[in-house]
Symmetry: C2
Subunit: 333 residues, 2 copies
């Protein structure tokens, strides 16, 4: 796969340095086709590579229980920066930086940023190394550029699907955000977390576009889901077992709150929150999702019942209002 740095030399060196004998490879969906090639490189070091074929959507989803079950001595996690404070199994994060140049996409974004003078930058770990270039292009075009660093994740300006602390930390200072990266997922997160106009500069397609209309659609949809959940009598509270998504105590607290509201609540544990999983529980009217909050927001149309984030549930329970929610964020801690 061209366009990404898989750090093959570092991979070999780290396996040798750690003396790993059995290695679990984990890659996000877009990078999975590279797994056999990388496994072959690992095999040549003398270690036995095992590829995790399961879906992987973030470093929250580290395959530690799989690694323990297979007596693996090293996890190699591609495509995400470290997120968990501690790993139960030694883990090497290979961030898989993109080698795509950003100039054309950022130049294209200028036409969409004419109304704004102070621009906040956001990107994923794949493109953090480009932020200086992005800043230069914007400054040359007369913009004031701000890059946030709240200190919670690995790099200034970086966002991950559920952590937008870096952009939130500068939201008051800027007129709009420019997100550098592919796809709408992270850009929508920036816009939802900050309520600021957000433009995508896509280095893969060399294009730029706004996500503001889509954000409005999501907000309307979330409002409808919260309304519908307000009428629910029976709730399911969803618990994930993924290391960075497991919030058991929070789930039990939410169950208690629901019961104090005179309603019924059940705890459901699940590895993947899928429409076909929830469809089995016909009597449940609405769900509260203590796992990855982005499933609630981005996959809403696939679910037959409302699947609220914890923050959204607080509106249903009366502990928060819609306005509070917009200020605090639909899904962030």
């Amino acid at each position: 796969m061209k366009g990404f740095d898989f750090e093959e030399e570092r991979l070999k060196q780290e396996i040798a340095r750690l003396g790993a004998k059995r290695v679990l490879l984990q890659l996000p969906e877009g990078l999975k086709p590279e797994a056999p090639r990388l496994a072959k490189i690992i095999e040549k070091t003398g270690a036995l590579p095992i590829v995790s074929a399961d879906p992987c959507y973030g470093a929250c989803d580290l395959a530690t229980s799989e690694a323990e079950s297979l007596a693996v001595d090293l996890i190699i996690h591609f495509g995400h920066a470290k997120l968990l404070k501690h790993e139960k199994v030694p883990t090497l994060y290979l961030e898989t930086r993109s080698t795509a140049t950003v100039d054309c996409a950022v130049e294209a974004s200028l036409a969409l940023l004419t109304r704004y003078s102070k621009i906040g930058l956001a990107t994923t770990v794949q493109h953090v190394q480009t932020l200086d270039t992005v800043r230069e292009i914007l400054v040359r075009a007369g913009k004031i550029v701000v890059i946030g660093d709240a200190g919670r994740i690995s790099y200034p300006g970086q966002v991950v699907g559920c952590d937008f602390s870096n952009v939130k930390s500068i939201a008051q200072e800027v007129d709009a955000f420019l997100f550098v990266g592919g796809g709408k997922f992270h850009a929508l997160g920036v816009a939802l977390a900050t309520s600021k106009p957000t433009v995508v500069a896509d280095p893969y397609d060399k294009t730029a576009y706004s996500v503001d209309q889509e954000v409005q659609k999501i907000l309307k949809q979330r409002w409808a889901s919260i309304e519908e959940a307000g009428r629910a009598k029976i709730f399911g509270v969803l618990i994930s077992l993924k290391p960075g998504q497991k919030h058991f105590d929070e789930a039990v607290k939410i169950k208690d709150i629901i019961e104090k509201m005179g309603k019924t609540a059940f705890l459901f544990e699940t590895r993947e929150i899928l429409p076909e999983t929830l469809i089995e529980f016909l009597t449940v009217d609405a769900y509260v999702n203590t796992a990855c909050p982005r499933i609630s927001l981005d996959d809403a149309s696939k679910f037959r019942k409302p699947v609220l984030t914890v923050n959204e549930f607080m509106v249903v329970s009366g502990e928060s209002s819609w306005d509070d929610l917009l200020n605090k964020g639909l899904f962030e801690n």
Copy 2:
């Protein structure tokens, strides 16, 4: 849900007797809608119920790692008889017997059994209590009835998706099998494992039908998959982490055999073997499945690449022939 015995009284008594404080409920897909009602019963005992929402296709798929992760002190597994020799977490199996009467379906099956005089019986745990009645009806119709007991699973005459030892043990003595139960899944297993004509008596629909045509389709399809895998250069060897489906050492052995054949092999671990999981690995030509062998046989049309059982792979490797395979069984140990 009418028609099944969920043993609610025994459920309460066992929770009290074991002093369980946190309980994980696991039900197969067809019974999942009952989970909230059963959780409510458990809650009234003072224990905290958590429902496993993930797919569950057998007692091989016991949610022990989920139970450990959630510090659960009792798993209640509905719908299957005990299969594992030891459980890492205390487990109560509630077999969820069907209360459907079998008379009408068995009477209907007689028209399909006229050519056969010696009939072997097979059923799932849901209907094992009906086998005496089934025998009586067949004997009254002039048949000789045989019920196999190879001692490997819980009840004489019982089959589970991957263990047909009870019917195999009597296959030489009978002309045909009568399977009592719903759906084609187990009946196809009986026919594939024994190469005998197999008729289903479905107590839910009160109907009877033969699966012999479908068996021929499966055999043709398997032959085509084996042929295609024979031309493969790159293999994936699939490893499951489910307690009754984990065969890591076998997977490594198969990888070695493939490499001795001058071909390439990669190990893949996965929780669920799904078409969308395997589709990511574009360069892999064929898979060998060391997990649930029924996925290879019953879901073949959903996969783009051949997914062989271990027994089928032995034909590709030359250790076995198609005739041996038919004698030994496509998938059984």
